[in-house]
Symmetry: C2
Subunit: 360 residues, 2 copies
């Protein structure tokens, strides 16, 4: 297989270079088939590489691509997009557009990364809006992909159908699962539940060639009822963040119980190996890396607060997406859905933005 | 203080009498100031009381109120409301309406309980739609009240304001907290984030006499950033159910880690007292009982799958709401908000349904 080339916005995130460079070096060591394009302020990257004592062998698969500007975590989208045309974020996306990289990764400002990657790379045919997707662990030992996680606040039924297509493509390529099942996030399993957009999306999904399971409820995300859970970005973002908050709270509660007195501290010390295994298993850093789907290129967003270990997982996501042929699979899934389904017309397949103009 | 009289729909929930009667007896024993009205099929209730060997002393504060029909968990709302006019659910609500009970509790079908209690009791002046609220534990050791949890799928900004009023009244009465802080659930703290309804609700809340904190994100629910989190019923229901699912999954994961081998089993046995304390602390049964707010009476919904212990907590919720004067406090809070705020008019205070007719 050819080298997999990943462009990294080395300046992005809460920490920037102190996280991205060590993560890049560690990732590179573990992946001889990867070439990393380190995008950012060249002298600072050089200094970090020197500080990290990168060996000549390591350097062989690293390339510095200079960028003179940096998008900050507080930059407004307009500023990032219109006024910082030589930002590390922008250059990273342009490397993918120009075929010099297969994927790009940033831990920077989500809104800016979304806008820039969309502006530079454009959406795939048949996709109106990109969506943010993430795989989270479920109770059945697998992973559930959920999208959209915040790129689109107001969605039409067609958008939700498109998210289902993109999520299915992600699971069938990266997750190596044929015909992934898709659930529509709702407040009840019955078809009559939910708002108008969700009801119409269910109808589109039912008529599509996707493996539509039907409505799912909040608890199904973690039960592993389906491979892909589809919702609008408002709901998805709130579900994701509330889950992060709950997991954190439960972690604090466990710690507090073991810290209650000398006796419980002792029990905690004894149980440490097991508790550590549990912590590792649910460590959110392991699930770092969300995919910006629907673009003409693999784009990964790392959590802004990612440390080196977490950022490596975001690089891994980029690598896996390229290796498993995510883009090709997405285009293929779109083609399947837009082709005439049993008893339907192309119009009915729901990829025509005008087909349901009555949806707000 | 006068007796607190609670009407119990003894037939509701996944289990009905085998749960509600023992719970009622246990609750009654712990609360000499409570009188319980046991509503349902009289002979069956009698049989259960005999089976539970209810003493004459216990019987003194229990009264059977016969109802000849039962709303099932699968009954459609229309059937429950229009065709079962002598259901235990309906009679329980009517006892409150007629002043024979101070509160009513059911573990039955949520949609039916909502519709029946609303039909029988009507909404308070200034409240268009009742909402479902629940207090859940947060990281700062307190409780966060979140509403709506599913009564209202599509909400206007005015509805969200009304939820904020009801939630504030709940916290200030039951939670004994003056001027509870209110957060509006959104996908970012910045005022520009979110959909139109949320943005307009923020504006209404900012101008109201409530203690509005501003936008909050999903993780703030469990952080305890504010006392009351307001959202529409679609989002609230999904957040609640996904949190239940996540908590369950983490419980399964911990168990799995301790069951890995003999060594970890031993560690688990040693740590049992601490793990049990943790489990008790996060036991969802302790947080059973959601309040149907905005009605002219205290109405509590227990989880359908509640066991005896959980159902007792729902009865406790009813008792606390009456004892703390929830209804009076709600009316008082509504009056405060509808009175002209600084620089505003009654119209601007946002309780006129027509004031923002442009919201879908």
């Amino acid at each position: 297989m050819a080298m997999i080339r990943i462009a990294i916005d080395c300046m992005g995130g809460d920490f920037g270079l102190p996280v991205t460079i060590p993560a890049a070096l560690a990732f590179s060591d573990r992946h001889p088939g990867a070439e990393l394009l380190l995008v950012g302020l060249a002298d600072q990257i050089e200094a970090r590489l020197a500080q990290a004592k990168a060996s000549p062998a390591q350097r062989e698969r690293l390339r510095i691509v200079p960028a003179t500007e940096v998008v900050t975590m507080d930059d407004k989208v307009e500023v990032a997009l219109r006024r910082k045309k030589d930002s590390s974020m922008r250059i990273a996306a342009e490397l993918v557009r120009d075929g010099q990289a297969d994927a790009c990764v940033s831990a920077g400002n989500t809104g800016a990364w979304m806008a820039i990657s969309r502006y530079v790379l454009k959406t795939l045919d048949g996709i109106d809006r990109p969506a943010i997707a993430k795989a989270i662990p479920n109770q059945s030992g697998g992973m559930t992909v959920i999208l959209d996680l915040g790129a689109n606040v107001d969605c039409t039924a067609e958008h939700l159908l498109q998210f289902a297509i993109m999520g299915s493509a992600l699971v069938s390529s990266v997750g190596h699962r044929e015909r992934p099942s898709v659930g529509l996030l709702n407040i009840g399993e019955e078809a009559i539940k939910g708002n108008d957009v969700v009801k119409q999306a269910a109808e589109l999904l039912r008529r599509s060639a996707l493996n539509f399971h039907g409505n799912v409820e909040g608890n199904d995300i973690f039960k592993g009822t389906v491979d892909v859970v589809v919702c609008d970005g408002f709901v998805g973002n709130i579900v994701l963040k509330s889950s992060e908050g709950l997991a954190k709270m439960l972690g604090v509660f466990i710690k507090e119980e073991f810290k209650r007195n000398l006796f419980t501290l002792l029990m905690g010390a004894i149980a440490t190996p097991v508790l550590n295994r549990f912590r590792q298993r649910v460590d959110p850093r392991r699930y770092n890396g969300a995919a910006l789907l629907g673009l003409r290129g693999v784009v990964i967003k790392s959590h802004g607060s990612a440390d080196t270990y977490a950022f490596e997982w975001a690089l891994q996501d980029a690598y896996d997406a390229v290796e498993s042929g995510l883009l090709g699979r997405t285009a293929q899934t779109i083609a399947q859905i837009t082709s005439v389904p049993a008893g339907g017309t192309e119009h009915e397949a729901g990829l025509e933005p005008s087909s349901h103009g009555d949806i707000a």
